[in-house]
Amino acid sequence: MTDLAIAWILVPFVAGLTLYLLPVLARGLTLAIAVLSLCVGLAITIQDINFSFVLMDSFGIALRIDSLSGYFIVTNALVLLAAVLYTWRCDYKAFFYVLLCLLHGSANTVFISADFLSLYVNLEVLGIVVFLLIAYPRGDRPLWIGLRYLMVGNVAMLFYLMGVGLVYQASHSFSFDVLLHAPPEAVALILMALLAKGAIFVSGLWLPQTNVVAAPVVAALLAGIVENAGVFPLVRLSLLYGEISKIVQLFALGSIFFGPLLALVADDVRRLLSFSTLGQLGWVIISPAAAGLYALMHGLAKAALFLSVGELRHYRLSELRQHGMARPIAIAMIIAGYGIVGVPLLAGFSAKALTISYLAPWQQGLLYGAGFLTATIYSKLVFIPQQPTSTPLPLGYSAATLVLLGGLVFADAGYLQAYTPANLLRSLVPPAVGLLLVGLGVSRWESSWRGAWEQLEHLLGVMLLLLIGLVWLAL
């Protein structure tokens, strides 16, 4: 088992390096890797495989595979599959597929790592690959946005490394299991870095503009894979420690309201989706036991939404209302959007029910309130006029959307106990209220306002504030 697992981790990296020598294999090999990971992920999830192994001597360098990792691996594989199908007919160079392979491999390793050091290495590799993917078009704007991402990520990871040093000093191990033997400053440093990397609450404000500037397929990868990799360590640590879970839940609640409120006033459909991502990442980490299913649902739906946005000619909501959008794209966007809202028959329904079932009553109330916000955001899509298409949609786009939305429907089987009359009734109220609110003219509040808080200095400064807050919480 251990050998198989190690071989499977290595495959994407070896494939990525092979593509340098044999660029002709690029698409096929990347597709094969996605399918392999999908099979592995499904096997782990369905058979509930649970095992861990130590890689090195006694320093706690270990990997751990369980059904939580399984869900994240399946998301990773499906989004990669969609990305390869989407770019099949495009003229992306082999280098792009090399990056996809490395992205896939490092994200998979994040999902199964059980120690701070392999987490550090893989998150950094992920950061470098994401920078290269964003900057792939080589224009000045993507370069700057990529640079910003790299800088914020690297500064956060330097703080993380400080925390890891203190953990090692306290217990001579890098394992997740020894975190609480370390001084509270170490916990605060590590949590701050992971919150910034996972785009939770205010420290996640690097995310909206990054998603707007990145190419549609890269934005889909960011939403489906990279952000999941950022929040996964938080989920893992919350599962291990009740104290950390409480702190993380606090930030998750902040994120759950902060994201959708900003999405409500965004005037650009890509910014709307990114701010909604901020909120949804809060949903992923708020109840760690349900995080796998929620991350799967959100990754698939958001990737489908970003790929669909790539097919639009206009991005401003006012322009979209004027010119309309092609009917098949509109339908795909509405299905994915309502998947996130939590309408029955799509995975969002069971994921939301499972998430809420683990929480305290006051938290359930708050989340239910936040559900109305999310529903209002996505109801805006319904009010955009639809037009019959004159030219057929690109085949790659159709195939990718089919994979993602199909996954969204099948993933609903993850928690069939959610289908109770009370849950069904409760899930239909927010969309109805959302439609009503949009009908009444919530869209008036849209503005092109950009907060100064998205500038590089502010992104870095927020980290310091967050660190002080976390030290105070951890003490």
Binding site: D140, L147, L161, M162, Q455, L456, E457, L464
Partner: protein, 114 residues
């Protein structure tokens, strides 16, 4: 020892604050490197808690010598390499950005591209 650790923490803090305060992109990249140097030094100091002798076994050496812990020194090599590659990428990007933004003032670049 305590002064050494204190100065390392000050280095990291100064590096971090300078990434916020310095206006020029190149300076920001350099200050980030100052911060990363501090973190590397922290690991080296952590390694010396158990002793100062290089952890190489020599024939005839007494087994009870206080060796430095090789693990933090080993793992920090990874961080040095990663830091170096990120530094390189950022400098290349800054070089390309400098063609259209000769001053490399981050606030101006932010206004232009955000």
């Amino acid at each position: 020892m305590i002064y050494l650790e204190a100065s390392i923490f000050i280095t990291i803090l100064v590096g971090f604050l300078a990434t916020i305060i310095k206006k020029n992109l190149l300076m920001k990249i350099v200050t980030m490197d100052v911060m990363s140097t501090g973190v590397v030094a922290l690991f080296v100091v952590i390694a010396t808690h158990s002793g100062l002798v290089t952890p190489i076994l020599r024939p005839g050496a007494a087994p009870a010598i206080a060796y430095a812990d090789p693990v933090p020194q080993g793992v920090i090599l990874t961080a040095i390499v990663i830091g170096l590659s990120i530094q390189t990428l950022m400098l290349v990007a800054a070089m390309k950005l400098a063609r259209d933004n000769p001053t490399l003032e981050t606030s101006e670049i932010d206004q232009k591209y955000l």
